[in-house]
Amino acid sequence: MPVQDLKGQKIWQRRTGRESLGHWVIWLIGVAIFAYCWQQISASTTWFFVWDAPRIANDIWTRATPPRWEYIAQLGKPIWDTLNIATLGTIFSLILAVPVAFMAARNTTPSRFIIRPIALLIIVSTRSINSLIWALLLIAIIGPGVFAGVIAIAIRSIGFCAKLLYEAIEEIDETQVEAITATGASRWQVMAYGIVPQIMPAFAGIAVFRWDINIRESTVLGLVGAGGIGLQLSSSLNVLAWPQVTLILLVILAAVVISEWVSAKVRGAII
């Protein structure tokens, strides 16, 4: 126990002298890095705009309120598109994620040294690139529209779903699998009767969770032209129709809150 001797009295301390020195050095380096970063940001900022910001914010606020409620009649189709992008994207991604997850899980992978690394690479690369970037890329390839949004969401979600699913597969109870194998079941029968029933609740939970995230992501995909309510948002922003922007933001907020509520309810019912 680190104890300091002060005029014959022993005082408890949290750290020894060397430990606290080490902490100080780490903190010093951290503060220096932060200061450098802040300097970089500050150097590429036009500070006049920042000092002017409260006035601009106030100006935008007065332009943006009240929201233009009658515009909501034109938002029905975009919201339907957004819902479709999220739902169909989630379904496609699950179809693609299931085989990837089975190939990535240590206990079901056909080959540990060739196929498993490939599956893990698919998981990492699809997860690390944002759906907006996928959408940008797909728009260049297959043209703007809802379809590009669906595919972008599908690709982006593979990594997330497959990662959670293969972790669930690795945690299954092996004794059940063994029992099915002992009855003389084939490889596919073992999968269908030994593994699938065990991961079904996890699978349903992952599907609903990802659907909720995808609703959020699909609301902004339109900013790059991939359909949905984001298209209306970007065209309203382009013509500086702030009352419409406010209404769209409120609709997006409502969609996000509703989808989160639905997903929490469904997951609560499953688990």
Partner: protein, 269 residues
């Protein structure tokens, strides 16, 4: 016994995932109806898709020979800006979310503070990063400052919520022992609460740095600084080899961060 004897001789069937038959059929019928409705409203221009396949092939081929050199200065500047934004916003975001997390934990904060902090978290979580970025770019002008503020704001919702949940589920006995020794409130937090949540705080912070870096890659699309602007330009000019190079750098950095966070989390826990 009669139930068992009635079942003898009949082949076994797998029990369905959803037990109640009416709910199962309702879900299946509703789902099929939705799928038909959804597919009928999506217009796919197949000739356009077919025409684009060649471009897609070109893009995939570009991954085999990414071009790091011809736009190297743009890539380098964008990457540095992304990393700078990530670091600065993570530091500020984490520093702000710790007091908010304390306020949002019911066993630490009184009810009014709890409600205020919870509503801050709810607002931050409900707003998309990119939408916040659009508004902040409109207010503060183009550049990394808007991106930095966006990421800091998004960090608060994520980190404060998860940290508050961890504080709420901490071991009361240890905290009470510190209180019984006559500690002040700050000492109580420092010696009773903080050591219990520290591993989780470090794990979450590193995870959030990872997320912030990924998000910083897209903020450039709306003018909030970072590598996104360079990437967008590369796509617009159909310079797929440069785009592939940028994407590869992002993937490598994310992989490195993920590996690092795994190592650090294994050490602190």
């Amino acid at each position: 016994m009669s139930e068992v004897s009635a079942l003898i001789g009949k082949p076994w069937k797998k029990p369905p995932f959803i037990q109640r038959p009416w709910l199962r059929w309702l879900l299946i019928v509703g789902f099929v109806a939705y799928l038909i409705a959804a597919f009928s409203t999506i217009e796919v221009n197949w000739s356009r898709v077919y025409a684009g396949l060649e471009r897609g092939e070109k893009f995939i081929l570009a991954f085999t020979q990414p071009d790091f050199t011809s736009r190297s200065s743009d890539i380098w500047e964008g990457m540095i800006e992304s990393i700078v934004m990530t670091v600065a916003s993570s530091v500020v975001g984490i520093a702000i979310s710790i007091p908010i997390a304390l306020g949002a934990a019911r066993n630490v904060a009184p009810l009014p503070v709890y409600l205020i902090c919870r509503s801050i978290i709810a607002i931050s979580r409900a707003l998309q990063e990119i939408i916040v970025a659009i508004l902040l770019v409109a207010i503060f002008g183009f550049g990394p400052l808007a991106g930095f503020l966006t990421l800091s704001f998004a960090t608060i919702g994520f980190l404060a919520k998860l940290l508050a949940e961890d504080i709420e589920s901490m071991d009361k006995v240890q905290a009470e022992a510190i209180k019984a020794s006559g500690a002040k409130w700050t000492q109580w937090i420092n010696y009773g609460v903080q050591p219990q949540v520290m591993p989780r705080l470090i794990g979450l912070s590193i995870y959030r740095i990872d997320i912030n870096f990924r998000e910083s890659a897209i903020l450039g699309l709306v003018g909030a600084g970072g590598i996104g602007a360079t990437l967008n330009t590369a796509f617009d000019r159909y310079e797929y080899d440069t785009a592939a190079a940028i994407l590869l750098i992002i993937i490598v950095i994310v992989m490195a961060l993920e590996y690092l966070s795994g190592v650090i989390r294994a050490r602190v826990q």
